[in-house]
Symmetry: C2
Subunit: 480 residues, 2 copies
């Protein structure tokens, strides 16, 4: 593999293209432990940006960040049976501390419901203590046996997990939907990755939840990617962890709970959805660097004039709150720099050569469309701001169109199989609501119900698989 | 233990006082796993503030945040012998993933030198790749066998660890000192905790370092607390991990490295140093809430007028960038609220009762001095800003005086023992430079050399222990 530049086309070998882009752009690298990864500066900067955006929303709605230990005693994990069943095959166990075998082995958190709710039980006494709305940013470990892939499936990944407790089911429902709205904003308005939103089926819901809401994106190979989930846990956990409160009339009740999470997996989706044959394409609202300025010195030309003009532009853009880098390194050629910044997905490149200085202009190169055009000096700031907005909108529209084109509506199982195999994507179909029927489709085709539509409530045919009366409109897909 | 209010005096039982303050202010709680803790909203908000302050400094000097896996294969940890010896007694080991015993057991990072430097070896090829300046915020695990204490010594804690690689020793030296300066700013200018700064002895330096610089604070019980360290690692790790670069003349050399860290331990120091019999006292520059407004309704009085005045003040302060809470909860009495906010260390409380509204004034209560005084309405914003500044300065001055009073300068071992046992604190003394001599002092008194003075270069007597020629002025203390 060459050190610079992506050597395969996205359309020809998505998997190899993805790996090359992620490694060569320095988003990430493999770690010595199989299935683990290193989040390098570019992906971590994206993650920090996501943290900033999401923190602002949850803090302004009364959520507070905390940090719980990574170790969960096995006995705690076992308390909610369904939850334990769901997670135990993938738990990494600590069995030795220093030289001493532990009396009880400790799970490294695959998710923190059980350890958090043991504390909730101590902390919640009265209606005055509700709602309790906590969130933590941390890493979690799931000892995957499936093939792993950078960002999309690794044994350790970064996420946030929110955990709340409420007096009523209605409040918990409202919380689930509020967070779902925040998630959608992060994904669509910032990452420019459009999603389908709806409820999971009983088979696919979170282990231990009453119900799960999900956000699902479509990857270029026609597979769905779950981007985030928000669960109403009902009273399943409050019952086993004994989380009770006295209401204003001194009556004791179990709390209603929610939990919700998004992870660094979204960064993988971002790469997949927007990247092109030259590398990453980052949406301006999350790009760690929005603009790069590359001075182009030329023999005999006045390099001093170019340099001072470049600095002036840098300063003007920075003063407007635009994140800009002036790449005036002398050890690399302009051509090398162009490739590098394209690989890293910087939305706008501004070039300044001797001719530009003379003509009081610069060249703008737009990462998403590859368009280049000259811009008069006095128009630089305005053009930059406008172009950043345009790129953001353009990336989302393009991805939105792909998502919409990727949905096939079918009435028969023949059509279902045909579209799934020939085109992939989401298959919109009517479904009887039976878990066994759903399981058979999975067994026969590899597709699962990604979500039950919230928008289309009326089925438009009999169940696509069994032909019985249909209850819901659902979206099937093969998935990551 | 009562649910509200600290029931012991700081001067009478520091240890019990500390535990009560930390638990009752909701800074932290115990976790089900022995020696682990829960960082609740108040301590995590302080940690986020520390992250913000420190990130700003390191990012503006070209450092980048990243995230490396928590798992380190045993073979990696073993590569640098001194380092392995230093950490292996306290490692938590993962030995099972899912149902399968692992082929090689995995350490949960006690610190990340070994896993990071394996990657550095891949990433660094040329002088163009230097300096490489990375940092990560994460948790680390050290399976302590000593008694643990919330924030000060726990089996899992939060920290940042910086890791850099440079072309020359001089650059690495400079990096070590730059970071030391940032640490001192965080501790003294923000946390208002004064520190002594200097070099560690060979016995006390980081396992694998060339030398270690340290910042040490003094706790009210006369014990020193290591607040942060910055290490020049020399070429110890680059040699074993084969981290080489070609310089501009195509000559191959090993890189010079540094690593440095501060942790949530600093939050424990903050509690210890500033807290009083009523609970926490938080320095305004880091306090998650700087001002609380408590309206005091009174029978027959115009509660509407009080409420609207309180909201107006809230808005005015918030508009000035002050973090302010309006505590208008009706389920608690004003007296209860006063106690709660004092316990939580909020620097300023503003009370508004019916008489205040009539007289167009409010009452200010200052957390650090307990002073109360009436302030005219039009002076509220100005007074708040001034008082926040004063509290910050006052807390630091008071702590600085305690630190200075806590240093005893001695010339003989008799004096040494006398001061150490009767007063505690730092013992300033001349020392021969011999590690065995230092070890004997530790064995005989429990005190270690916390640091070698950077300021006082000339010894002022013979070695305080062995009476041989002295080489350096050092500070001994018992420590956490």
């Amino acid at each position: 593999m060459s050190d610079t530049g992506v050597t395969v086309k996205k359309s020809e070998d998505l998997s190899e293209w993805y790996t090359q882009v992620v490694l060569k752009s320095r988003m990430a690298d493999y770690a010595p432990v199989k299935g683990c990864m290193i989040f390098r500066e570019l992906s971590y900067a994206l993650w920090e940006r996501i943290q900033e955006i999401f923190n602002k929303r949850i803090k302004s709605t009364g959520h507070r960040n905390v940090y719980f230990p990574m170790f969960i005693p096995e006995s705690f994990l076992k308390k909610e049976a369904e939850h334990f069943e769901g997670f135990v095959p993938e738990v990494a166990w600590v069995t030795v501390g220093g030289d001493t075998p532990l009396e009880e082995r400790l799970a490294i958190r695959p998710t923190s419901e059980t350890i958090m709710y043991a504390a909730f039980s101590k902390w919640i006494r009265s209606w005055r203590d509700l709602p309790l709305k906590l969130n933590q940013w941390c890493s979690v470990v799931r000892w995957e046996t499936k093939a792993t892939r950078l960002f999309l499936r690794t044994r350790e990944f970064l996420w946030q997990e929110g955990h709340t407790a409420h007096a009523t089911k209605e409040e918990a429902d409202k919380e689930v939907m509020e967070i779902l709205g925040f998630y959608r904003e992060v994904m669509e308005d910032y990452l420019a990755v459009p999603v389908l939103v709806g409820k999971k089926t009983e088979n696919e819901k979170f282990a231990g939840a009453l119900y799960t809401m999900t956000l699902e994106a479509l990857m270029p190979d026609g597979k769905a990617l779950q981007m985030g989930t928000s669960h109403n846990l009902g009273q399943h956990f409050s019952r086993v962890f004994d989380i009770k409160f006295l209401d204003e009339k001194e009556k004791e009740s179990l709390v209603w709970q929610t939990s919700w999470g998004i992870s660094t997996r979204m960064i993988g989706a971002l790469v997949m959805v927007h990247g092109d044959d030259k590398g990453l394409v980052l949406p301006p609202k999350v790009a760690p660097v929005q603009v790069v300025i590359v001075p182009i010195p030329y023999k005999n030309a006045d390099s001093e004039a170019i340099s001072s003009k470049a600095k002036e532009i840098f300063q003007n853009l920075q003063d407007r709150g635009i994140t800009v880098v002036l790449d005036d390194r002398t050890e690399y050629t302009p051509g090398w720099k162009f490739n590098e910044w394209e690989l890293k997905g910087v939305p706008i490149r501004i070039e300044i050569g001797p001719r530009d200085v003379n003509q009081k202009q610069v060249m703008f190169a737009r990462r998403d469309t590859h368009a280049k055009n000259a811009v008069k000096e006095e128009e630089i700031v305005k053009t930059t701001e406008k172009m950043l907005d345009e790129i953001q909108i353009c990336l989302f529209s393009r991805a939105k169109k792909s998502l919409e084109d990727g949905i096939s509506t079918v009435k028969t199982y023949d059509e279902f199989r045909k579209f799934l195999n020939e085109k992939g994507g989401f298959i919109e179909a009517s479904w009887c609501g039976d878990s066994d029927c759903e399981a058979k489709v999975k067994e026969e085709t590899g597709a699962t119900i990604r979500l039950i539509s919230s928008e289309k409530e009326k089925p438009f045919s009999k169940c696509v698989h069994c032909g019985r009366e249909a209850k819901e409109v659902v979206y099937f897909a093969r998935s990551y």
